[in-house]
């Protein structure tokens, strides 16, 4: 019987442990008939960190996660998870992985506690321990009051949390989450963020695919971009994407526009609901300089901020389209 530590328990001695292997993928490729779902993906997701998997619809995120979870065999390429080679020891790797699919699935007639107990037992826990663990997970994900409710009655966000509890019930070393934030309200998202953080702090490898980039920005230590089934060298993109849009808003919009025109700075209107304008600036120094000049010129400027998060910027600079 494996010993499953409590989820929130801190790692025994952080940083002094030998590096635990995380996820390592090289030149992974997978086709479905004539459809090339994952063309060529290489990346590393280290342990004790949260790695974000970002890409447009149809870029192959789910397919990649399936291969990492040991459910789908790559056509070519090498995958190592938790120190095991997927090609040879997929079972060894599989039982150390907690995978949460993007489609929510439950047995409708079973209660939440029964479902989690069942999965606990499927991971080889004794009945008593699985029951205890199930209730622990329900408390962790704020579902304790639904322990004896059939999964059918749960709301979408609650089902999503149940799915998360299911993926974590066996205290996996590697956590693969396919869009865990979808359907969650803002508070649950923050809780999810804290949960992922605590998992990473406990030494787990966490790989999250998500579209909610602002959340990932705050939590992800690393990010992997996928585009048309290909992993993108993010540093190369960031180098190109140093010119960012900045949002300016003044109490007197006309004065601001006149000021910008006098400086020969090209601007475009921002969102229609406001009087804001967007200008492209090379870096923060330029933004500071512009702010100084505007204040000196008497423009009643009250807002200056980058248009979007870094991830979103990079995401949008991918020239690929949705598929």
């Amino acid at each position: 019987m494996t010993d499953y530590p409590a989820l929130s328990s801190p790692p025994a001695a952080p940083n002094t442990q030998p590096a635990v292997p995380g996820i390592f993928a090289r030149n992974v490729r997978r086709t479905f008939g004539s459809v090339l779902a994952v063309a060529d993906v290489s990346f590393t997701a280290p342990a004790a960190a949260v790695t974000a998997l970002i890409g447009p619809n149809g870029s192959g995120k789910t397919t990649l996660l399936l291969m990492l979870a040991g459910l789908l065999r790559p056509d070519v390429g090498q995958i190592n998870v938790a120190g095991f080679d997927m090609a040879r020891s997929s079972y060894e790797a599989r039982i150390r992985i907690g995978w949460m699919p993007d489609t929510l699935g439950t047995w409708d007639s079973l209660t939440c506690a029964e479902i989690l107990t069942g999965y606990g037992r499927a991971y080889g826990m004794s009945k008593a321990f699985a029951t205890e663990r199930a209730h622990f997970m329900l408390r962790q994900l704020f579902l304790a009051e639904y322990a004896n409710a059939p999964a059918r009655v749960l709301s979408r966000g609650q089902k999503q949390r149940l799915g998360l509890a299911r993926a974590l019930v066996h205290d996996p070393q590697v956590v693969l989450l396919d869009e865990p934030a979808s359907g969650l309200d803002p508070r649950s998202r923050i809780e999810l963020r804290d949960l992922l953080r605590s998992l990473a702090d406990a030494g787990k490898t966490v790989l999250v695919s998500s579209h909610v980039l602002s959340e990932l920005e705050e939590i992800a230590d690393h990010s992997v971009f996928l585009q048309r089934g290909q992993s993108i060298d993010v540093r190369a993109i960031e180098r190109n994407a140093t010119v960012r849009g900045w949002r300016l808003e003044a109490l007197d919009p006309a004065a601001l526009q006149a000021f910008l025109n006098s400086r020969n700075l090209p601007w475009r209107p921002g969102s229609a609901a406001t009087t804001e304008v967007i200008v492209n600036l090379p870096d923060q120094q330029a933004a500071l300089a512009l702010l100084r000049e505007a204040v000196a010129a008497g423009v009643p400027l009250h807002t200056i901020a980058p248009v979007s998060g870094r991830l979103e910027e990079t995401y949008l600079s991918l020239d690929g389209e949705r598929q």
Binding site: T62, L71, R94, W99, P101, S109, A122, G124, H170
Partner: protein, 409 residues
Amino acid sequence: MNTWRLSFSGVATVLSLELSQRIRSKKMYIALGVWFVFMGFITWLINQFFYAALYLEAEGVSGWLFSLITLFVMGMSLLVAPVFSASAIVSDREHGVLATLQATKLSAVEIAAGKLLASWLVSLAFVVVTIPYVGYAVWLGGVSLQQVAVATAVVFIEVALICTIGLGWSAITSRAVISTVFTYLSVAFMTVITLIIFATATAMTVSDEQVSDWELPLSAERSYVADLNAWFASSSNSAAPPAPPWEQCAWVERGYSSSIAHTEYTWWLLLVNPFVIVADAAASPTVPLQDSVLDSTDPLALIKLGVRSARIGDAAGADNCGASTTWLGDYRIAPRSDGTFTITSPDGIAVISAPGTKPTSPFAGYDIDDPVWPWGMASNAIIAAAFFYLAVRRLSVPYGVLPSGQRVA
């Protein structure tokens, strides 16, 4: 990999997940109740019909009651089993939980075995509630407890077979509806369609053949009858009468032809049929055809007799060479197990012959007492093994090729 890793706790986990879903549903209990009442009604009908309409003795009624209930339970089980098995894997796939199960420590064979066991146990509930009615047939007398035990065991096994077929279909289809249809088609194939194929194939074997019997030529018979006449006439016999001279047997042409259906080439088509198997295994004993009087004429006995005769087949001619009771002149010659013969004179005096040559039969083949059901069971076991293997293969991860149009999750 670990596709074939089998542990008790793994199977038990899947089984309890499956069962707790089924047991939760009220529909299941309602169906069981309806089924119990329905079988009671059928029993009452059969009972009334044979007692009141035919004035049969209790024993005759019990044979019919047992036969009809057994056939009915078998038929209904074949209809019930697909309901519970044909959705086993595919419904989990439709609900998006199959992949999460496959991602756990469970192996493909554990998932398949757990689901098979669950659908089998649920289907068996329908067999078990009919036991009181079978018990009633036993209570009437004439049916042995052993027959009941055998019939029940065969039904249990056949239900397991149908469940395995359903499991196999549910593993390879992507819709529960399609899997259910294919399972019912399989049941239809095993019960009705093989019967039709058997009839058609048998019709094609029919041919006109010259009739010749294997027997003592007239001259040999006359001289033996003369010997017997002399023996019975003499008053002081120290030795037993001579044994019939079977070594002289030959083909005797009858000079006409008759059309013969060679079922010995086609009988095996009936093997997979669950009704044939249960009848052959559990029917009341029959006595050899030649005596043409059957101990029992209930449906099970008739099916059993039919399939066994089909296996023996038909030939243009008969074996009158001492294999069974024959008449030589006015003497009745009946074989005994030790190789001698009981000779009954026209005056009704029976004596035992001296040991003689054992009759040889050109019709060497199956006997009416040779059971057919072991072959039937074996054929079913092969079918079940193939479908189970299919299910396990389709459940094993990581997937290499996926059927087109199917996602893992």
